[in-house]
Symmetry: C2
Subunit: 501 residues, 2 copies
């Protein structure tokens, strides 16, 4: 080293770099950098702590602290008789196999994603498919009973139990599974015992477990076409082979050709098809159950927003009709409480309880027990039922207003979906419309809608826009719907090529 | 139907089954069941609502409510001129392709897990590898500042923002990423800007994203042997090819043969090898970084418990030494705060920010923004630093007591690991010991330790037991360690076959 270490340290301590660090830390960093830059070579000796301390005018303990850290991290060694020397950092075993290349060559090496990584990320869904925003801006969660929720969470933390701090075991907090089983039996006609329930971090995690534990790479999964992009992403990330199945007014509608090759998984949204806003007919349900049982396929029932049915009771679950234990029922609190809660659940047949508990614990390491406890209280004390009733009334009003406004103002060549359920509806458009372009135009005007064609796994697509209204303030519905209708009408008029006679 | 419907309904209403349901719901359920059991055939007519109401003595609205739900769910149809008739539930399209089998044949169909599902679940890790319990019983989280944590969570819910209710965007809550970047720079010598950070639901999720976005099925990942079972599970669930790499006292130690075939991913625990309790040497670190850069591999640095270093400062991260942006740094709050918090983080190179944000959003749909906000305050207000200092002191005491007690009492044929770090240590045993049997014996005496041999991905294994002490009440350490030493000594004496001269 050309410059004596003490001089280097002194000049560094005088500078403003790292001035907020304690002195021993600054000395440590300086020497560390000098070793990494090869200013200090392997084998060279550091001054004794006493001498360095004297030269730079600090306490010896300060220098010792720096040296000890250098020692702990392997930058220096304490050699008997020679004091502290810079460690010889040449690798201790043959590096012949490592092709030595310079920094530029390194940068030229491919930094590519995996094939599945490319597939998953080349068109981000997050911005393009999230339908909860119809108008850009903050969502409205004003119906949510903050005070009660805060109180219940407080309770979980006021009497802290170590079980609340720990990982979740056995599929989740037992009292939550109890009240949930009861709710699902009564409200959703799901046939289940509490032990069949697994609390997950949401439907994505539930589906991921199914895709992983029940299917192998290249196994076939039926996807509703159009269908839920989030499920698609999970199946793609698990290397499944997606087979798009048409959806008509009765729900998923496999052709005889589809039925020829048995899938391993069948993913459906029977209570309220996403995004087409139709309910699966009883006929179709029974067909699907019979078929799954006869070919040994598993049905993944995604019941994501069944609480929101504005006329009559919610449609009974597919799972409740199944006599062959082929259905895995997935539910979530994302829609009925709030998206960020990250609590969902699945109901699995008895013979899958053990493997699913193991898979959940080993792959995902679930936790969030305090939130699970608050949620159990929330349901058990009746707040959940009250809240469902409140939001159902609220969202029902929004839907009615939106439907009414759009119906009155849209041109008759459009068609509105009318399931009277959920948090979104579809404006179907004639084939000559470019729904992607329409959505882009709308976004410029702060109207955040999604092109229906983008939800298709494969062509042919139909055209339309998906409009979410769940979290929009009620008073904004009519003016926003008016602007939307105007925009859609203008788009149709502009894009329609008159047929020349 | 042989029995008139009214009679059936009356007898049902008289029974105690579903007695807690409203009458319209009971009528609905009864008719639904009768249709599903084929007691009521497709096409048969239901009595008019007026007549049924008269016969069973309830209001007509009650019957109408039941009929409307049956209609909504597709069990009945309203036919002009014939009133309400049971729907013809024969599938509307060809079922010729569905092989009709009876219920018993259905049950005989394979209900197998997938190949990867079998691999993942055939030996559950959850119970066998969780090392935090050394004694069975509740863990001790008494050092945790409940009051402050409760207060900060309360704050997030007192001024509810819709952003706290929503999904997490752009990799997580921005203020948390800010304070975390600062912490990682200062405490862990990680080179990062806040935008390089992604907040995940823990290290499992971080590793899953890496395995998915950076590797394809059958790509090779280097696993430390022995190594962390949780990482192994995640890689297995992503169909990666595991190559076990030996670990010596300097950390991961690839042989020339290992270096011949470039892996796609290299998973390491440099600051504190899990479970061997050794620190990766600087030489080994530089070798690994050079090698990864030269072959275009990604290093996944799992820095799971680096806060717990009881002498000197924490070891600097591997990421901080990397000049080729080949390291993805993964951290967690599971160890330093509490396991169930489900907040971890990863620091990715600049060119991976976008794909990783997309992958995280699309596959996992993250949320928990209120907890993220509380955590940001917790760090920003200095509570985190204080807490780390407290638990470090506390766990340091536990470790010292445990080491001291074991050293004094264990036979000299054992060897204790001595990294002065982390929440566990290893008692190395002679090869003739059966550590699996020893752990089973210990469990009978409420001592919960793990066999070292079980952490190996492939043979040859070394024998020992892994002892976690992090969450054990301090006053229990000495008596428990005494019992443990006694057990280990007895096991060694019993299993040692004297060499006959």
């Amino acid at each position: 080293m050309k410059i004596p270490l003490a001089e280097l340290v002194l000049s560094s301590l005088g500078s403003s770099v790292n001035a907020d660090m304690p002195t021993h830390r600054r000395i440590f960093e300086l020497i560390r950098q000098a070793i990494l830059n090869h200013q200090l070579q392997g084998g060279s000796k550091l001054p004794s702590s006493r001498n360095l301390a004297l030269e730079i005018g600090c306490s010896r303990n300060t220098v010792i602290a720096a040296y000890e850290q250098l020692l702990a991290e392997g930058f220096v060694e304490a050699r008997i008789g020679s004091g502290t020397v810079v460690a010889d950092t040449l690798p201790s075993f043959a590096l012949d196999n490592i092709q030595q290349v310079d920094d530029e060559a390194f940068s030229a090496l491919p930094r590519a994603l995996s094939v599945r990584g490319e597939r998953l990320t080349h068109s981000p869904s997050d911005k393009n498919f999230e339908i909860q925003e119809f108008i850009q801006g903050a969502n409205d969660f004003s119906v949510f009973p903050y005070k009660i929720w805060q109180k219940l969470q407080n309770k979980a933390w006021r009497e802290p139990q170590s079980a609340f701090m720990d990982y979740a075991r056995l599929g989740g907090y037992a009292p939550l599974k109890e009240v949930l089983a009861e709710y699902l039996r009564v409200s959703r006609s799901v046939r289940c015992e509490p032990e069949q329930i697994l609390i997950t971090a949401g439907t994505q995690q539930s589906l991921d477990l199914c895709a992983n534990l029940l299917a192998d790479a290249n196994d076939m999964v039926w996807m509703e076409n159009p269908g839920y992009w989030g499920a698609r992403r999970v199946f793609e990330s698990n290397d499944l082979h997606l087979r798009p199945i048409e959806v008509d007014n009765d729900g998923i509608c496999p052709t005889p050709a589809d039925l020829q090759t048995a899938p391993r998984l069948i993913y459906v949204t029977p209570s309220h098809q996403y995004p087409l806003d139709v309910v699966m007919s009883l006929t179709r349900r029974r067909l699907l159950l019979e078929y799954a049982a006869s070919v040994g396929a598993w049905i993944l029932e995604d019941d994501y927003d069944s609480e929101f049915r504005y006329k009559g009771r919610p449609i009974a679950s597919l799972q409740g009709l199944d006599h062959h234990n082929r259905v895995i029922y997935c539910g979530t609190f994302s829609k009925v409480l709030y998206p960020g809660i990250r609590i969902g659940y699945m109901v699995v047949p008895q013979d899958l309880i053990e493997p699913f508990r193991t898979g959940l614990a080993d792959i995902h390491r679930p936790g969030q027990m305090a939130v699970q406890a608050a949620l159990a209280d929330f349901i058990q004390q009746g707040h959940f039922t009250t809240h469902v009733r409140n939001v159902r009334a609220r969202y029902g009003q929004s839907r009615a207003l939106l439907q009414h406004t759009l119906q009155n103002q849209l041109l008759s060549t459009t068609r509105l979906s009318n399931a009277d359920a959920g948090l979104h509806l579809v404006i179907h458009l004639p084939d000559f419309c470019d729904d992607v372009k329409l959505a882009a135009e709308a976004r410029l005007q702060q109207i955040d809608i999604r092109p229906l064609s983008a939800y298709y796994v494969a062509p042919p697509v139909t055209r339309g826009v998906v409009v979410g209204y769940g979290y929009m303030p009620l008073e904004q519905i009519v003016p926003a719907a008016t602007r939307l209708a105007d925009l859609v009408n203008r788009h149709m008029v502009m894009s329609h090529q008159p047929v020349l006679v």
